[in-house]
C-alpha cells in the first residue's frame, strides 16, 4: 500500500485528535430515543461500529477500581493477598518479617499496621478493634485459593464504609459452593522448607448449598539471615538462625439457603521474629507473635416488590494477638525474661442497606451500621520476675448512617453523591461526603472528577498502650483526608485500553508516632501531609492470546510542617503483568515485573530502587482434574531491601532472594 504524506499526516492527525479526544464524529451519534422506537427489522439494518470495551474494569464506577480474579491469581501464582496487592498500580508492600505493610499512592507510615486501608471479606470488615490492622500477608485468615476475586477501590470511601477507608477499600469475594463443586485439594512445596495443604468441599443441594475448607501452611523461613547492624560476637555475628518460621492454620465454612448466608472464618498465624525487633535479644527463637482472627457472619439479601434490594448482616468477631519477646532479665541479665504482650478484641454488630432503583434516572442507597466493641483489652506482663505491666480494658460503640445517590443526568453524564455520619462513643464523630461526576463525552472516553473525604479514629493501641517506650495519649482525635482526583479512561480499540489519573491528597491531624526527649514515643495528631501524583495504566490483548497490563505512577508527598519529603514514600512505581497462553490454552506463562523507586526511611537513610521479576508456569485441566504450577519468585535473585518499621532498629530489611514454588491442585469435578 502506498501512502502519500498528506494522507499519512491527515491520518496521524486523526489519530492524535482521537487520542486527545476532540474528534468531531463522536458527537454525531443518533439520538437514542429514535432508536428505541425502531422495529426489530429496522434495528437489524442499522450500520454500527463497535465501541471498544470489555477489557476495562467498571467504566463508570465512581472511583478508580482494579479487579483481580481467581484466574489471575492462579495464573500469576500469587501466594498471599500481599502478593496480589504488590502488582496493583501505585500500591507497594513492605515486609519487616513480622507483618506486610501496604503503601498506596506514596503513603505508608512506618510502624503503621495498615490502619488506613479498609479490608473486607464479602463485605465483612476485617480491620480489628485494637490496632485497626488489615492483615494482608500469611496472617490473612482466608486461604488464597478460596478467593473468587478482589475488588480494589482507590481513594477515600468513608462515605460508604466509615473509618479506615482513607486510601482504599479492598473487598475480597470468596468462592461459593458451586465454584468448588465437589472436592478440591491442593498441595504446595516451596523453597525455605515451605509446605502447604488445603482441602475444600462444596455442594449445591436442593434447598441449600455449603462449602467447607481447611488449610495448613508451614515454613521454616530463612535458616540464616545476616543483619550487619548486629555483627558483633555477642549477637551471633549478626546471624539470625532459624528464627524466621511461619505457621498458619485456617478454616472457612459457608452455608446458604435462599437469601440467607452464614459464614464462619478462622485463621491463626505464628511467626518467629528474626530482626531483634523492639530491642529484644537478637537471634532468640522465643521472640514471636501469634495473631488469630475468627468470625461468624449472617447475611440476608432479598429483593422486595418495587425493586427494593435489601442487605442485612449481623456478625461476631474475635481477634487475639500474643507477642512473646525475649529480653535480658532486669534482676539477672544473664537470664532471659519473656515479656508477653496481648490483645483481646471482641465485637459484634449489625448493618442494613436498602437500595432502590427508580424507574428513570437514579438509584438510592441508604444504610445504617452498629458495632459494639465489647472488649478492646490490652495486657502486658513479664515472666521473670513475674509482674503485670499493663491491664487496660476498654469498650466502645460505633453507629453510623449513610446515604448514596447515583443519578444519571443524561446519556453521557452521571453523578454519584454519598454522605455518611459516624458516631463514636469514645472519640469525636465524623461526617464524610463524597461526590463523583462521570462524563462520557463519547463512547470511548470516560472522564471522572472525584472529591472525597475520609477519616480514621485513633485506636485503643494508639490511645492507651503504655509499655515503654510507648507513652499513651487518650486525647487523640480522628485524622482526616481530603482527596481530589481526575481520571481519564480511554478505549483505543476493543483490545486496548488506557487510563490516566491525577490526584491530590491532604491529610490533616495525621496520627503520628513522635519521639519524646527521653527515648519514649507518643502518638500525636501532628503532621499535615500533602501529596500529588499521576498514574498511567494500559491494558491490552492480542489475537495470539497475550494479555497484559502495564502501569507507572509518580507521586510526591510532603510533610507540610517540615517541608520535607515523606519517608517510606517511593516517587516512582512501575508494574508489568503479562500472560501468554500456550499449547491451545493448556499452558499459561505469566510474568510479573515490579519496579519500586528508592525511598528514605524513618531514620533518614535510604533504600535503593529495585526491579523484581516473577515467573509462573501453569498447566491447567491436565487429565481434566489436575492443575500444576511452578512459580519462580524474584527470578533473577535480586538483592533488595525494604525500609524498617518503628519496631525494628535495622537500617533496612533484606528480602528473600529467588524462591521456587510447586503447586498441585486436584478437583473432583472437571470445570
Amino acid at each position: 500500500m502506498k501512502l502519500s504524506c498528506s494522507t499519512c499526516l491527515r491520518s496521524l492527525t486523526t489519530v492524535l485528535i482521537f487520542i486527545l479526544g476532540t474528534c468531531d464524529y463522536c458527537h454525531s451519534q443518533q439520538p437514542l430515543s429514535d432508536l428505541s422506537e425502531a422495529t426489530l427489522e429496522e434495528l437489524g439494518s442499522i450500520q454500527v461500529y463497535s465501541a471498544s470495551k470489555r477489557i476495562q474494569p467498571s467504566g463508570e464506577a465512581p472511583s478508580s477500581v482494579t479487579v483481580v480474579s481467581a484466574d489471575d491469581i492462579q495464573k500469576q501464582g500469587y501466594r498471599t493477598v500481599a502478593d496480589i496487592l504488590r502488582t496493583v498500580r501505585s500500591f507497594y508492600v513492605t515486609y519487616d518479617r513480622i507483618y506486610s505493610s501496604l503503601g498506596v499512592r506514596g503513603f505508608a507510615r512506618p510502624g503503621d499496621f495498615n490502619t488506613r486501608i479498609l479490608l473486607l471479606v464479602n463485605g465483612h470488615r476485617l480491620n480489628d478493634n485494637i490496632y485497626d490492622e488489615a492483615m494482608i500477608g500469611t496472617e490473612f485468615p482466608v486461604d488464597i485459593d478460596l478467593i473468587q476475586r478482589i475488588e480494589i477501590v482507590r481513594g477515600p470511601v468513608s462515605s460508604l464504609y466509615g473509618s479506615n477507608a482513607l486510601f482504599a477499600a479492598i473487598n475480597i469475594v470468596t468462592k461459593e459452593a458451586r465454584d468448588i463443586n465437589g472436592l478440591d485439594v491442593s498441595a504446595v512445596a516451596a523453597s525455605l522448607h515451605t509446605y502447604k495443604a488445603r482441602a475444600s468441599y462444596g455442594r449445591e443441594l436442593k434447598r441449600f448449598s455449603f462449602l467447607v475448607s481447611g488449610s495448613f501452611y508451614g515454613s521454616t523461613g530463612q535458616t540464616q539471615i545476616f543483619y550487619p547492624e548486629f555483627n558483633r560476637p555477642e549477637t551471633n555475628s549478626g546471624i539470625a538462625s532459624h528464627a524466621d518460621d511461619d505457621q498458619v492454620g485456617s478454616a472457612f465454612g459457608t452455608i446458604s439457603s435462599h437469601d440467607l448466608t452464614l459464614e464462619a472464618v478462622w485463621g491463626t498465624r505464628e511467626k518467629g521474629i528474626p530482626t531483634g525487633a523492639y530491642g529484644t535479644i537478637f537471634n532468640n527463637p522465643d521472640t514471636r507473635t501469634i495473631d488469630s482472627h475468627r468470625y461468624a457472619d449472617l447475611r440476608y439479601e432479598h429483593i422486595f416488590p418495587g425493586s427494593l434490594d435489601v442487605l442485612a448482616r449481623a456478625f461476631y468477631d474475635q481477634y487475639a494477638y500474643q507477642g512473646t519477646y525475649a529480653y535480658p532479665s532486669i534482676t539477672d541479665p544473664t537470664q532471659t525474661n519473656l515479656n508477653v504482650d496481648c490483645a483481646d478484641g471482641r465485637w459484634w454488630g449489625a448493618e442494613i442497606q436498602l437500595a432502590r432503583s427508580m424507574p428513570g434516572r437514579n438509584r438510592v442507597t441508604v444504610g445504617g451500621e452498629f458495632r459494639d466493641n465489647i472488649r478492646q483489652n490490652q495486657t502486658n506482663h513479664d515472666l521473670h520476675p513475674p509482674s503485670l505491666l499493663l491491664d487496660d480494658e476498654r469498650h466502645s460503640i460505633v453507629s453510623a448512617f449513610f446515604l448514596q445517590d447515583e443519578i444519571v443526568l443524561s446519556n453521557s453524564v452521571a453523578l454519584n453523591l454519598g454522605l455518611r455520619y459516624d458516631y463514636y462513643s469514645a472519640v469525636k464523630s465524623s461526617t464524610d461526603p463524597r461526590a463523583a461526576l462521570i462524563w462520557r463525552p463519547w463512547s470511548h472516553t470516560a472522564l471522572k472528577a472525584i472529591y472525597g473525604e475520609a477519616f480514621r479514629v485513633p485506636n485503643v493501641y494508639e490511645r492507651y498502650y503504655s509499655i515503654a517506650p510507648n507513652v499513651p495519649n487518650p486525647t487523640l482525635t480522628p485524622e482526616k483526608i481530603r482527596s481530589a482526583e481526575f481520571v481519564w479512561e480511554q478505549s483505543i480499540s476493543t483490545s486496548f485500553w488506557l487510563s490516566l489519573s491525577t490526584f491530590h491528597n491532604t491529610l490533616d491531624d495525621l496520627i503520628t508516632q513522635e519521639s519524646l526527649n527521653d527515648d519514649s514515643y507518643i502518638f500525636e495528631n501532628l503532621q499535615t501531609v500533602s501529596s500529588r501524583g499521576i498514574e498511567f495504566e494500559v491494558k491490552g490483548r492480542r489475537s495470539t492470546g497475550l494479555e497484559g497490563t502495564a502501569s507507572y505512577s509518580f507521586q510526591d508527598s510532603e510533610d507540610r510542617d517540615s517541608g520535607q519529603s515523606l519517608s517510606n514514600s517511593p516517587q516512582h512505581i512501575a508494574k508489568l503483568n503479562l500472560v501468554q497462553p500456550l499449547l491451545r490454552r493448556g499452558l499459561f506463562a505469566s510474568l510479573d515485573a515490579q519496579y519500586r523507586g528508592g525511598m528514605t526511611t524513618l531514620t533518614s537513610r535510604s533504600v535503593s530502587p529495585f526491579a523484581l521479576v516473577n515467573l509462573t508456569l501453569l498447566g491447567r485441566n491436565l487429565g481434566k482434574h489436575l492443575d500444576i504450577s511452578a512459580g519462580f519468585y524474584n527470578l533473577f535473585d535480586k538483592d533488595y531491601y525494604d525500609p524498617p518499621s518503628t519496631a525494628v532498629s535495622l537500617h533496612s530489611i533484606r528480602q528473600d532472594g529467588r524462591t521456587l514454588q510447586f503447586k498441585v491442585t486436584w478437583k473432583s469435578g472437571a470445570r
Binding site: 451519534q29 437514542l32 454500527v48 461500529y49 418495587g306 462520557r440 483490545s495
Partner: protein, 184 residues
C-alpha cells in the same frame, strides 16, 4: 510549487498508530454505536417476551432489567428505558456486579467479557425466570436465550427457543421470525 517528498518515517509512524488503534480508522460519521443498537433491541425484546406471573411480586412490580458488570452499557440501557412502561409495568435498569443477584432479574445482559463464566452463570440461574441476553456467537448454543451477533456492521440476534421454554419465558412468534437463527 514543490511537492514535499514522502518521508520514510511517516508510514512507520502511521503503522504504529494504526496498530494501536487496531481497526478504528474508518470514518463512521453515519454509523451508530453498536451498544446503542443493542440497548434499543433489548427494549424491543421486552415487548415480545412474557414472563410467568410468579416472576413478579405484584401486578405493578417493575421489570428488572439487569446489566452484569458493565456500567457503560447500563447507562445506555437506563437511558432507553427511562419513563417507559410495558403492559403497565415500569422498567428499572439495575447494575449488578455479582452473578448471584441475577436470579431476581427479569432480563439479564451478559457482555462478552463474561464469556468464561456463562456456564456457571446458567447453572446458578436454573429454575429462575431470567431472560438471558449475550453477545457471543455461541451464547445461545450454551444455553442462553438471546444472543447478539454482529455481521457486516449490522447487529442481529439468535434465539434459543428451548432455553426460553425452560426458563418459562414466552417469546412471541414475531420475535422468532426476525431472529437470524432459532435453536429449537
Amino acid at each position: 510549487m514543490k511537492k514535499p517528498r514522502p518521508s520514510r518515517l511517516c508510514p512507520a509512524l502511521l503503522g504504529l498508530a494504526l496498530a494501536l488503534l487496531h481497526g478504528q480508522q474508518r470514518s463512521r460519521a453515519q454509523l451508530v454505536d453498536e451498544e446503542q443498537v443493542k440497548a434499543a433491541y433489548i427494549y424491543n425484546f421486552l415487548k415480545f417476551a412474557e414472563w410467568p406471573a410468579e416472576a413478579f411480586a405484584t401486578p405493578t412490580d417493575p421489570i428488572r432489567l439487569c446489566v452484569l458488570d458493565d456500567s457503560r452499557f447500563y447507562s445506555q440501557v437506563m437511558h432507553v428505558v427511562k419513563d417507559r412502561t410495558i403492559a403497565g409495568r415500569s422498567i428499572v435498569a439495575v447494575p449488578i456486579h455479582n452473578a448471584d443477584k441475577a436470579r431476581h432479574c427479569h432480563l439479564l445482559f451478559i457482555n462478552s467479557a463474561h464469556n468464561g463464566e456463562v456456564d456457571r452463570l446458567f447453572e446458578s440461574l436454573h429454575g429462575s425466570n431470567v431472560l438471558t441476553i449475550g453477545e457471543t456467537e455461541t451464547f445461545v448454543d450454551r444455553g442462553g436465550i438471546i444472543g447478539f451477533v454482529t455481521q457486516d456492521s449490522q447487529v442481529h440476534f439468535q434465539v434459543n427457543h428451548k432455553a426460553a421454554t425452560q426458563y418459562r419465558i414466552r417469546l412471541s412468534s414475531r420475535l422468532l421470525s426476525v431472529a437470524k437463527r432459532v435453536v429449537e
